[in-house]
């Protein structure tokens, strides 16, 4: 099954989803396809005008271009997702991988879709790590498809 992960460039979530036999919908693959496409005519940017236009399906024209561009990439991933694993309040989702508003919009779209969704937190102790891994494993093993 295709599992959306949030933050979308998370190493830990991407790895765990693959370990338990599903396909993570991560940012790396999306950006990889774009930067290898000769249509990308404006390096070092990794977006095209098409992405910005696609972003209009998820946010209004008044939204900042950063939000619109991010939604142009992340929005279609949310639409493809059959399940989602989300880290609650990740500090680093605010930064190079997204902005606070784009993150809120992604979570809103995920909740509206009504797909199975697991919310976890980054661990800081061994016990929290055990809890996180156990919950993710149970969730992913329970997904059919």
């Amino acid at each position: 099954m295709k599992v959306f992960i949030f933050p979308p460039n998370s190493l830990i979530l991407s790895d765990l989803v693959e370990r338990f036999g599903h396909t993570p919908l991560s940012l790396g693959r999306e950006i990889g396809e774009r930067v290898r496409d000769p249509g990308l005519d404006n390096p070092p940017l990794n977006l095209t005008e098409e992405d910005l236009v696609r972003g209009l399906r998820y946010v209004s024209i008044e939204a900042p271009s950063g939000v619109r561009g991010r939604m142009g990439v992340l929005g279609p991933l949310v639409e493809q997702a059959e399940a989602a694993v989300v880290v609650k309040n990740p500090d680093y989702a605010f930064g190079c991988s997204g902005c606070a508003r784009a993150s809120l919009q992604v979570l809103y779209l995920l909740r509206r879709r009504g797909i199975p969704m697991l919310e976890v937190e980054y661990p800081s102790t061994k016990e929290e790590a055990r809890e996180m891994v156990r919950r993710i494993a149970e969730f992913l093993r329970g997904l059919k498809g």
């Binding site: 460039n9 991407s14 693959e18 370990r19 790396g28 990889g32 661990p123 061994k126 891994v133």
Partner: protein, 139 residues
């Protein structure tokens, strides 16, 4: 496509050992050693095979994800940008710090130690006790 192999800080492996092992096994992908592991570039099937081979060395200590830019890409390479941190590195660095915890939890999960372990749920404070607390705090 590109893929990152990240070695957990508690693993006994080094990027050099991992790189040599993959080369010995005949993995036909472009490889670049970095401080946290390897960056691989090649066909997707080759990269998946490389990940399986890498996990022969350390099943729980090697983590992986897809990577956007190819290794040495001049658009993001620090050599051509004149320095500054690598894009996306702070987040990767943050997650690498957590890898030893995840590694140990995965090992315990495989050994079946985590089965049936439920975290004790926090119950709501009964009204009577809450009233007692309030009376103590605000007599």
């Amino acid at each position: 496509m590109g893929r990152i192999l990240v070695i957990s800080p508690t693993s006994g492996l080094t990027p050099e050992v991992l790189c040599r092992y993959l080369m010995e096994k005949g993995v036909r992908a472009k490889m670049k050693e970095t401080c946290f592991g390897l960056v691989l570039e090649g066909e997707e099937e080759v990269l998946e095979e490389a990940l399986k081979i890498a996990r022969e060395l350390d099943r729980y200590g090697i983590f992986s994800k897809m990577r956007g830019y190819p290794p040495g890409d001049p658009r993001i390479c620090r050599a051509s940008r004149g320095g500054s941190p690598r894009m996306g590195f702070p987040f990767l660095d943050y997650e690498v710090e957590k890898l030893p915890l995840i590694e140990e939890a995965l090992r315990e999960l495989e050994e079946g130690k985590l089965e049936g372990r439920e975290k004790e749920k926090r119950k709501k404070l009964p009204l009577k006790e809450l009233r007692e607390v309030l009376v103590e705090e605000f007599p």
